[in-house]
């Protein structure tokens, strides 16, 4: 029985971990993404193309996001259907366009996820090195590229087969490949580091008062 419950949680964790790859790459000998201080947050826009194996066209969405090492991640989809996903130390919560909150997962391990994001954005690769083989390179355009491959025997292999992240000042592109043959291609733009506090609409979402 226990493994089922943990399985559910771990699936969510795996997804979160893949999401955390956004903006994580940095190497000692190549340009690195800007570090987000604990009193800062990163804001920007995204476009996500979800390619499903066997389907010709991807599912495309766009919106904006806010990432705070101290508070968590708000992923706000604006097109084609409004909806928000919040990843913080309480777990994963979805909010639909009518403000209905749906808690997908809760638990202490999600606190670890937020800590993981903070560590990665601070240039600390150690948390990822436990689960991934990491290769770093530069692209022809001079951007850095980080490829994360789950280590053999790692349970995350069941959800992720490979992650490729590229960028300059920030992470700009993430390609998340799954064992099913599906992959997500995420493009981040208009990113900027700003000081806390978060904009009120995002702060309200993270505290749950925005519904």
């Amino acid at each position: 029985m226990i493994p089922i419950r943990r399985l559910i949680a771990s699936v969510a964790t795996a997804i979160l971990l893949t999401a955390s790859m956004i903006g994580t790459a940095r190497a000692d000998d190549i340009p690195a993404p800007a570090t987000i201080g604990t009193e800062q947050y990163l804001g920007g826009s995204f476009t996500m193309d979800r390619h499903l194996d066997g389907f010709e066209k991807p599912l495309t969405s766009n919106g904006d996001f806010v990432l705070s090492p101290a508070r968590g991640l708000v992923w706000r989809t604006l097109q084609p259907f409004p909806g928000t996903t919040i990843l913080d130390d309480h777990g994963i919560t979805r909010i639909d366009d009518q403000g209905n909150r749906d808690e997908l997962a809760r638990g202490d391990q999600f606190r670890q996820f937020v800590e993981l994001i903070s560590a990665v954005l601070a240039g600390n690769w150690q948390p990822l090195e436990q689960r991934f083989d990491i290769t770093r390179d530069t692209t022809e355009q001079g951007a850095w590229q980080v490829i994360l491959t789950p280590k053999d025997g790692s349970t995350i292999q069941n959800q992720i087969s490979k992650i490729t992240a590229t960028g300059t000042d920030f992470v700009e592109n993430v390609r998340l490949e799954k064992p099913t043959g599906d992959h997500d291609a995420i493009t981040l733009s208009d990113q900027a580091l700003q000081s806390l506090p978060l904009p009120p609409e995002f702060a309200a979402l993270l505290t749950g008062t925005g519904q």
């Binding site: 979160l16 499903l52 389907f55």
Partner: protein, 775 residues
């Protein structure tokens, strides 16, 4: 004579070799778990089970698990230490599997393969309620959002099977029902990580449980030493059983050593010679040896309590030796002396065998082991008296012996208590009537929790782990009976419905049953209908427009998910929620049992079972059975006594052990000893030894060796009280109670044996002393 002695000695040597080989070679284990030896008579393979059978089944499963709770203020340090520790535990012989957080994530594919095809038949209660209330649009919006969410389980395959993303909600709800498992738990700035080990089913019976626990403790110590700040706790039946067995073994060794030394000193003070000591040791040793050999030959594991009783064999078998050894050398050749005591010895053995024979018919292996041990041991002691003691040079009791003087003094005192025949008849009738009343009227207390010693550290650890995992409260569970598995699933659903309000107001922490993992076909059909009309008919086309795939309504004739063998392969948890022909619902943190019972009152085929209560009830039933068996043994003894001695003397002879039993019962009651099944069993020993006393005296009455017999009985009393009195010092409450009851009963047996067989007119003490003077 020499040939028989040689053959018997060879038999003893063979038994010694065999018993050593069985125990040292691990062919026979030592078990201290009371549960392992009760209720097995109820093990029906199919159909509704008794409460105790279900309890046994569940505890047998749970008993194969050991939980270690590691905690540290730093999570990474904790996980590193736990991983190291888990590796050490996994490497131990007897560990089947080890479970750490995130170690079973690869089950996801199997789980989706099982549930995926039935996604439209599986609804979380929340989704079901929304569909039933016509609020399908919320689910549609959720499905749309799921398509574009960064946190999703969406895949090309899941989109085909479950386009409305119903399965994640079902699994999420299932996860909540399962409660806290072995995730890392944070509380008050401390992180806790449970490491769960599944143990081999034969670990205990193979006798390797003590080694496993020792190795696990070593591993625990290593990881604690290597990780400053790490705290550990452990729990599991294996730890309690090994602790109890170790304590019982220690008690047995201590008692056996002290009792043996005490008896040797006593015999030394009587004969001033080591030769009778040798004879007594020979008889006692052969009794212990034969009892042990018989038990290990018949049973795969010996219960620690049977071992304790085995140690008390010293107190019984030495009676036989003393009965022979006290005979003075002037009484004739060894064969002559043997002939003098043989009738009493044989009758004593016969009576004891009848008493313990009633035990051997007992429904519990524990009592059967005690019976086998005792019968084999007594027969062996008897044989040693017949075959070996005659070869030992006779040594007379020294007139200056302090015990002889004590004996004479006691005889003088006893002589003043002797009563006429009529008084004895009245007393006999009173004993019989009072014993019957006492058996009915003195309340029993068979609470299982009072029997064991309880290891404070383990109890503390268990409480801590239960608290962290949210597994406190009463350990109750629910059994659902019924021939049709689908009906049982329906009943499980009704139970879930009835108890949900109690979960909501925290009177019940949670519950999980088979119907949570596999809904009934009726429920699956209803779900399909709701999904079809609520989602596919209304929003199927709209969703199709968003996807490069056609959405088609569920096939109402498709197969259903059922709890069959295939499902159990993916979900081994199914087997833990099933017992015999019944389903099980496990409850967590049940704090209001009355409310649970009330909520279930109107549901048919449902039984709320409290394991401690079920076990205690079983012992209460055994206690009743034991009284019936004891009554039967007394009845047989009465018939034998009347046949042997005539009605009047026969009644006296019978009343002595019966009175000893009454003495033990009333004495135990006065001293506040709980009247349990086990103390009732102790009365069998009181009966057997009490019968020996009175039979020895009755057989030697008016014979030249009458005084020798009286001395032998006193020596027997001293040795028995020494042995059983030492049991009363045991740290195990069960053993302590048994020892106390027997010690009290034997004093009564000794007095009544004299009183009931006393001469009627003359001063017996003067007579016997005169006789001794003439000799």
């Amino acid at each position: 004579m020499a040939l028989r002695a040689t053959l018997w000695a060879l038999c003893l040597i063979t038994m010694a070799v065999f018993a050593t080989w069985q125990l040292r070679g691990g062919h026979t284990g030592i078990d201290a778990d009371i549960l392992s030896l009760i209720g097995q008579e109820n093990a029906a393979p199919n159909g509704p089970q008794t409460d105790i059978a279900t309890v046994r089944h569940l505890l047998a499963n749970d008993g194969q698990q050991a939980i270690f709770m590691l905690s540290h203020s730093d999570r990474d340090t904790l996980e590193t230490a736990a991983t190291d520790f888990a590796g050490r535990i996994a490497a131990l012989d007897g560990t089947q599997t080890i479970t750490l957080p995130r170690h079973n994530d690869n089950r996801f594919a199997d789980l989706m393969a099982l549930y995926g095809p039935h996604a439209n038949s599986l609804l979380s209660p929340s989704d079901r309620e929304k569909l039933a209330n016509g609020d399908a649009e919320t689910l549609y919006r959720r499905a749309i959002q799921n398509l574009y969410s960064p946190a999703t389980t969406l895949s090309s395959q899941s989109l085909k099977q479950d386009p409305f993303a119903l399965l994640p909600a079902f699994l999420s709800d299932l996860g909540a029902k399962l409660g806290t498992g072995n995730d890392v738990i944070a509380r008050d700035g401390q992180f806790y990580l449970p490491v769960m080990a599944s143990l081999s089913p034969d670990l205990r019976s193979s006798g390797n449980d003590q080694k496993w626990v020792a190795d696990a403790n070593t591993a625990l110590q290593s990881v604690t030493d290597a990780t400053p700040g790490l705290s550990v706790a452990k729990t599991g039946q294996i730890f309690f059983a090994v602790a109890e067995a170790t304590r019982a073994q220690s008690d047995v060794q201590r008692i056996a050593i002290i009792a043996t030394i005490g008896i040797l000193v006593m015999i030394g003070l009587v004969f001033y010679s080591p030769i009778p000591l040798f004879g007594a040791l020979l008889v006692v040793g052969s009794g212990l040896l034969a009892g042990l050999a018989a038990v290990v030959a018949i049973f795969p594991a010996i219960h620690a309590i049977a071992l304790v009783f085995g140690a008390t064999m010293i107190g019984i078998s030495v009676d036989y030796a003393l009965h022979y050894l006290v005979l003075c050398s002037a009484a004739g050749s060894p064969t002559d002396r043997l002939h003098k005591i043989r009738p009493g010895l044989s009758l004593g053995l016969l009576t004891s065998v009848i008493g313990f024979g009633a035990l051997s018919l007992s429904p519990t292996q524990l009592l059967s082991q005690i019976a086998v041990y005792s019968i084999a041991g007594l027969i062996a002691a008897y044989c040693s008296v017949l075959f070996l003691l005659p070869l030992i040079p006779a040594r007379d009791v020294r007139p200056s012996s302090p015990i002889r003087k004590l004996h004479d003094g006691l005889q003088a005192i006893l002589g003043k208590t002797f009563a006429p025949i009529r008084v004895r008849l009245i007393a006999s009738a009173a004993i019989i009537i009072t014993l019957a009343l006492a058996a009915f009227l003195i309340p029993g207390n068979n609470d299982i929790r009072q029997f064991g010693h309880g290891n404070d550290a383990l109890i503390s650890d268990a409480g801590k782990i239960a608290d962290i995992l949210g597994l406190g409260g009463s350990p109750v569970f629910i059994r659902i009976d019924g021939d049709d598995p689908q009906n049982r699933l329906e009943t499980g659903k009704a139970v879930r419905h009835a108890l949900t309000p109690l979960i909501a107001d925290n009177r019940l922490g949670g519950m999980i049953g088979l119907s949570d993992l596999i809904p009934s076909i009726t429920r699956q059909t209803e779900n399909r209908g709701l999904v079809t009309t609520g989602l596919y008919d209304r929003f199927g086309a709209a969703l199709s427009n968003q996807l490069p795939v056609n959405i088609t309504a569920p096939d109402m004739d498709a197969g259903y998910l059922v709890p069959d063998e295939d499902a159990a392969k993916t979900l081994p948890e199914i087997t833990l929620l099933h017992s015999g022909g019944s389903d099980i619902i496990r409850l967590r943190n049940a704090t209001d049992i009355d409310a649970i019972r009330l909520a279930l009152a109107d549901i048919q085929n449902v039984t709320l079972i409290n394991p401690p209560t079920a076990i205690s009830d079983q012992f209460a039933a055994y206690r009743l059975w034991a009284w019936i068996a004891l009554g039967s043994a007394l009845g047989v003894a009465a018939i034998l006594a009347v046949l042997r001695y005539g009605f009047r003397t026969g009644i006296f002879v019978f009343a002595a052990p019966a009175g000893a039993i009454l003495f033990a019962v009333l004495g135990g009651y006065v001293f506040g000893i709980d009247q349990s099944f086990f103390t009732t069993m102790a009365l069998f020993l009181v009966f057997a030894i009490g019968a020996d006393y009175v039979l020895f005296l009755a057989e030697s009455r008016n014979s030249p060796h009458d005084d020798d017999t009286r001395l032998a009985v006193l020596l027997s009393l001293i040795s028995s009280v020494l042995a059983f009195g030492l049991l009363a010092t045991s740290s195990v409450p069960l053993v302590r109670d048994i020892g106390s009851v027997i010690a009290i009963g034997l004093i009564g047996a000794w007095f009544l044996a004299f009183w009931m067989t006393a001469p009627t007119e003359t001063n017996h003490n003067t007579q016997t002393q005169n006789q001794r003077g003439q000799e």
